[in-house]
Symmetry: C2
Subunit: 708 residues, 2 copies
Amino acid sequence: MAVPLTIFVALIAGIISIAMALYFRYLVLKEDPGNEKMIEVAGYIESGATTYLKVQYKILGIFVACLAIALLFLPSPFETSDTYTRAVSGALNWEQVIAYTTGAVGSMFAGWLGMYVGVKANTRAAQGCTKGTKEGFNIAFFGGAVMGLAVVGVALIGLSIWYMIIPDPSIVLGFSFGASSVALFMKCGGGIYTKTADVGADLVGKAEYDLPEDDPRNPATIADNVGDNVGDIAGMGSDLFDSYVASIIAAMMLAASLAMIVDVTLTTESRFIYVVFPVVLCGVGLIASLIGIYIIKLKGSDEPGKALNSGTYLSTLIFAGLAALFTLIMTIGLTSSEIIMLWRNWGAAVIGLFSGIIIGFTSDYFTRDDKKPTRSIAEAAKEGHAVVILSGFSYGLMSVVPAALGVIVAMAVAFLLGGVFGVAMAAVGMLAIVGTIVSNDAYGPIVDNARAIAEQGDLGDEVIRTADRLDSAGNTAKAITKGFAIGAANLTVLALMFSFTTEANNIQAGTIQAMDLLKINVLIGAFIGVVVPALFSALLILAVQRNAAKMVDEIRRQFESNPKILKGEEAADFNKCIDIATKGSLKELVFPSIISIAIPLTVGILFGVAALGAFLAGAILSGFVFAIMMSNAGGAWDNAKKWIEDGNLGGKGTDVHKASITGDTVGDPFKDTAGPSINTLLVVMSLTASIFLGLLMMFNAGAGLIIF
Amino acid sequence: MAVPLTIFVALIAGIISIAMALYFRYLVLKEDPGNEKMIEVAGYIESGATTYLKVQYKILGIFVACLAIALLFLPSPFETSDTYTRAVSGALNWEQVIAYTTGAVGSMFAGWLGMYVGVKANTRAAQGCTKGTKEGFNIAFFGGAVMGLAVVGVALIGLSIWYMIIPDPSIVLGFSFGASSVALFMKCGGGIYTKTADVGADLVGKAEYDLPEDDPRNPATIADNVGDNVGDIAGMGSDLFDSYVASIIAAMMLAASLAMIVDVTLTTESRFIYVVFPVVLCGVGLIASLIGIYIIKLKGSDEPGKALNSGTYLSTLIFAGLAALFTLIMTIGLTSSEIIMLWRNWGAAVIGLFSGIIIGFTSDYFTRDDKKPTRSIAEAAKEGHAVVILSGFSYGLMSVVPAALGVIVAMAVAFLLGGVFGVAMAAVGMLAIVGTIVSNDAYGPIVDNARAIAEQGDLGDEVIRTADRLDSAGNTAKAITKGFAIGAANLTVLALMFSFTTEANNIQAGTIQAMDLLKINVLIGAFIGVVVPALFSALLILAVQRNAAKMVDEIRRQFESNPKILKGEEAADFNKCIDIATKGSLKELVFPSIISIAIPLTVGILFGVAALGAFLAGAILSGFVFAIMMSNAGGAWDNAKKWIEDGNLGGKGTDVHKASITGDTVGDPFKDTAGPSINTLLVVMSLTASIFLGLLMMFNAGAGLIIF
C-alpha cells in the first residue's frame, strides 16, 4: 500500500521544516545586533510587538474557548447518517474540538515564532548592511524564512498527524477552522494596527512637520515599525497558514465525499489515495521550497530582488518535477483509468501553481514604477490630489481583469482535468510553495525595520542606501506574494464551496436545491454575499481612520507640549503611541470578526443551504474584485510616490510629491488592511458554512426558515 | 373584454403627457429671459449643447444603423419553433428592426425636447429669482417637467402602439433595445462630457487661481454648464427612459412566456391580461405623476426641497390608489384564483414603488450634511486629503448595505406574491412614477445653470442666494432620484434576466442547464459578470481623467497666453473648451459601448446560455454595489464640501476646505459618470442577451463552444 508511506512525506517534510526554521533562527541570532542605539530601538520594537501579541493572544484565547464550547455541542456534519443521532443522543463533538484547539494553537505558535525572529533579525540585518548588500540580504532572508518554514511545518505536521490518528477529514476541518479563527484576528488586528501607526505617523510627521520617514523624533515611529511586524509578518503568516490548510482540507473533503472524479468512480481504496494526494503534494511543495531557499542561501546575491524571484521560479520548477515523481509512486497498484486520473490531477495542481505566478506578475506589472499604470498615476499627481486618487483607483479596477482571467483559466482547465476535485487541486498547487512565498513576504518588514534602525542608529547614508535597496526588493516581492495570496485564497474558497455543497447533497440527497440563481433564495444569498466584502472593507478602513485620528492627536499633543522632542533633545513618548495602536486595533477587530461568522450562519438559517452556497460564491467573486483592486491600487500609489521621491517630476517637497503622498496614504489601508483581510474573511466564512452544516441541516432541509 | 380598453389608458396617458410637456414648454418660453448678458451666456450654453447633441446624434445614427442591419439578419428569438426555420429560410427580421429604430428615434426625440427646454429655462429661472423663490422654482420645475413628461409620454405611446399593431412582446423588445442603444451613448458620453468640464474647471479655476464657482473668467465655465445639460438632463432622461421601457418589456415577456404565475395557470385569455397589466400600471403611474406635478404647480412653494419631495409622496399615494382602481377593472371576467393573483401582483408593484422610495431616502441619509456620514466625512477633512477620501469611500461602501436590503426585501416579498412575474412587477411599480422622478432630476441642472447665469449676469447677491436655495433643493432631489434609479434598474435587470432564461428554456426545454453555480461554466459566467462593472467604471473614470487633463492644459494655456482674461478685460475662448469636452467624450464612449454588447455575446457563445444568465446576475449584483457606492460617496463628498463652504470647520480657503474639494473632485466622476452609467450598462447587456438569444441558440443549445 502506497498510502501510509506517502503521507509520511508530509509529516517528515513538516518536521524537517521546523528543524530548518530553528536552524535559521540560530543563524540569525548569532549575528551582530549592532551598536547600542540600534539595540535600544530594536528593543522598543520587540517589546511593542510582544506586548501586542500578548494582549492579542489573551483575547484570542477567550474567543477560541467560546467557539470550542459551541463546537462541542454541534452535530458533527460529516458523519452523514449519524448527524441527527448524535445531536439527539447528546454525544459531544470532542475530536473536532480538540483538533480545532490544536489548529488555533499551532497558528499562534507559528505567528509567534516568525515574529520573534523577525524582531531579532531587523537590527542584525541593518548591521549586516554595513558589510554589504549580500550580508544584509542573507540575514533578512533567513529571518523571513523562519516564518515561512514555521507556517508550513506546523500546518503539515498538524494535518498529517490528525489524519493518521483519525482518518476522517471532518477532524482536519476542525484543525483548519482553528487556524482560521486565529488568522482572522491576526490579520484584521495586525492590519488595523500597522496602518493606524503608519498613517498617523505620515499625516503629522511627513505632511505637517516635514520629517523624513522613520525619523526618531516622530513619536509614532516605533509603533510604525511594530506594525510592520504584527501586520506583515504575524498577520500575513497566519493568513497564508489559514489558506494553506483550508486548500488542503477542501481537497480532502471533496475526495472523501465525491462519488466519482470526472468519470472515474472512487473505490474505498482509490478514495484513500485522493484524500492523501493533496497532503502529499504539499509535503513535496515544502521540500521544493526548502531546496529553493537553500540554493538562494548558497548563491547569495548582490541583487536581492532577483534572488527572491529566482527562489520562486526554482521552487516552482522543482515542485512540478518532484510532484510528478510522487504521483508516479502513488499510482502503484491503480487501474489504468485511475492512473490517468491521478496524472490529470497532478496537471491541475501544476496549472494552479503556474497561474498563481501569473497572477503575481500581473500585480507586479500594475505596481512597478517602470510600467505604464504606476507611471500614469505618478503623472496624474501633476493634476493634484484628486486626480492621483482617480487614476490609482481606476488602474486598481483594471488590474482585476487580467487577474480574474488568470483564475478563470486555471479554474476551467483544472475542472476539465479533474472536475471540482481538480479545482481544489489547483488551489493546493498554487499554495504548495507557500513556504517560499511567506519567506519572501516576511523578508519585507524585516528590511523595512532594518532601514529604520539604520536611520536611527546613525549608520550613515551609505548603509541606509544599501538598506533601501533591500527594502525596494521587499516591496516588489510583496506585490507578487499579495497577488499570489489573493488568487490562492480565491481558488481555495471556491473549492471549499464545492466541498460544502457536495457534503450537503450527500447528507440529504435530493432535498437540497441546486444553487440555481433563478431561485429567489439562492439569488438573495448571492446578493448578500456580494455585499459583504464591501461592508467588511468599509468597517476596516473606518477603523484605521478612527484610530489614525487618535494617533494624529497624540503626536500633535506631544510635539506641542514638549518642543524639545522636535529639536531631538528629548525622546518622544513612544509607548503612548504603541498603546493607542494596540488598544484601538484590538477593539476594532471584534465587530468584523463576529459578522464573518454570524452572517453566513444567518443566511444559512433564513434562506437554506443552497442560498448559503450562493452566498459564498457571491462573496468570493466580489471579494476577489475588492481584494485585487485595493491591493494593486495601494501598491501602485506607494511606488508612484517612491518614484517621485527618487527625483522624478520634481521630486520631494513639490506639490506633485504631496499629491502622491495622498495617494500613498489612501493606499495604505487599502493594501495592508482591507484588501488582504478579505482573504481571511472568505476562508472563515466558507469554513463556518462547512463546520455548521450539521446544525443548518437540522434547522432546514435545503430551503431556509423563510420558505420560497 | 377589458384588455383593449385598458391598454388605451397607457396610450391616452402618453398623449396627454406629451401635450402637457408642450404646454409646459410654452409656459417656460413665454417667461422673461433676463438681461442681455444673461441671454448671451444662455446662448453660449444652448449653442454648446446643441452642437454636442448634433455630433452625438450623427455618430448615434451610424451606430443605430449598423445594429439595425445586424438585427435584420438575426433569427427572431421569440417565435419559438420558428427560430431555425426563419434563419434557414432567410426571412428578414423587419418588424423588430423597425421597432428598434422607433425606440432609438423616440429616445433621441425625448432627450432633445427635454434639453431644448432645459437650456431655455435656465436663464428664465434666473430672471424668475429676481421676483422670488416661488417664481424661480416654478419656471425651473416646469422646465424639468418637460423632460419627465416627454420621456414617459414617448415611451408609453411607442410601447402601446407597437403592441396594438403586433401583439408580440418580441417587437416591443426591439423598441426597448433601440432606447437602450441611445441611452448608452447619451449616458456615457454625457457623463464624460460633464465631468471633463467640471473637473477641469475646478482643478485650474478653483484650486490654482482661487476663482469662485461659475466665474465668467474661467474658460471652462460654459462647457461646465453645457455639461450639466447634456449629462444630467439628456443623459439621465435617456437612462430612465431606458430602464422604464425595459422594466415594462421584461414583465410583458415574462407574462407571454411563463406557463403559470405562482400556482395560477395562464390561459390564452388571462395571459393577455398579464401582458398588458404592466403597460396599464405605467399609464396609471403617469396619470399619478401628472396630478402630482399639477398639485405642486397649484400650491407653488417657498420651500423648493419640500415641494419636490411632496410631489414624490403624492404621486406614490395616488399611484397606489389609481392602480387599485384599474386592477379592479381588469379583474372583470376572471376566475377567483386569477383575481387573487392579479391583486397579488398589484401588491408587488406597490411594494416595488415603496421600496424605491426607501432606497432613495437611504441615499438621502448618506449624503445629507446634517446626518452622520457626511458630517464625519467633513470632519475627516481636518486630517487632510487622504483621510477625506478614505472616509467617503468607506461610507459609500456602507451605504450599499441598507440599499441592498431594500432591494432584497422588495424582491423577496414580490416573489412571494407573484413569483418571477411579481419581481418584474415590482420593477414596473418602482418606475411607474418615473415622470415625477425625471422631472425632479432635470430640475437640478436647470437651477444649477440658473445660478451660474445669475452670477454672470450680475443679478446681485440676493438673487444668487435665492438661486443657491433652489440649487440645494436640486441636489437633495438628485440624491434621492439617483438611489431610486439604481434600485429600479437593478430590479429591472433582474426581471430581464428571469425573462431571458425563461425564454431560453421555452425555446429548447430540457437542453438548457439550470443556472447552477456548481457548474463551472455558470460560475465562470458569474465571475466575468462581477468583473465587468469594475472594468466599465475604470474605463469611464480614466476617460474623464484623460479629458480633464486636456481641459486643464487648455485653461492654463489661455490664462498664461492672455493675462487679460484673468483681469476680466477680455472674454475667454469658451469654444475651445466646449470643443475639447465634445470631441473627447464622443471618442471615449466608443470602447465602453462596444464591450457592453460584445462581452455578453462572447460569454453566451463560449460558455452557453446558462452562463450568460449567471453573467447577468453577477453583473447586476456587483454593478449595484459599485453604482450605489460611487453615487453616494460622490454625493456625500459634494455636500461635505458645501457644508464646509457654508462656514463650518473654518470655511472657505482653509486647508480643511481644500481637502474637501479633493473629495468632491474624486466624487464627480464617481457620481456623475461611472456610477449612473452602470445602470445603462446593465440594461444594455441584459437586452443584448435577450435580443441575440436566437443566435446564441443556433450556436449552442445550453452549453457553450467550450464544452464543460
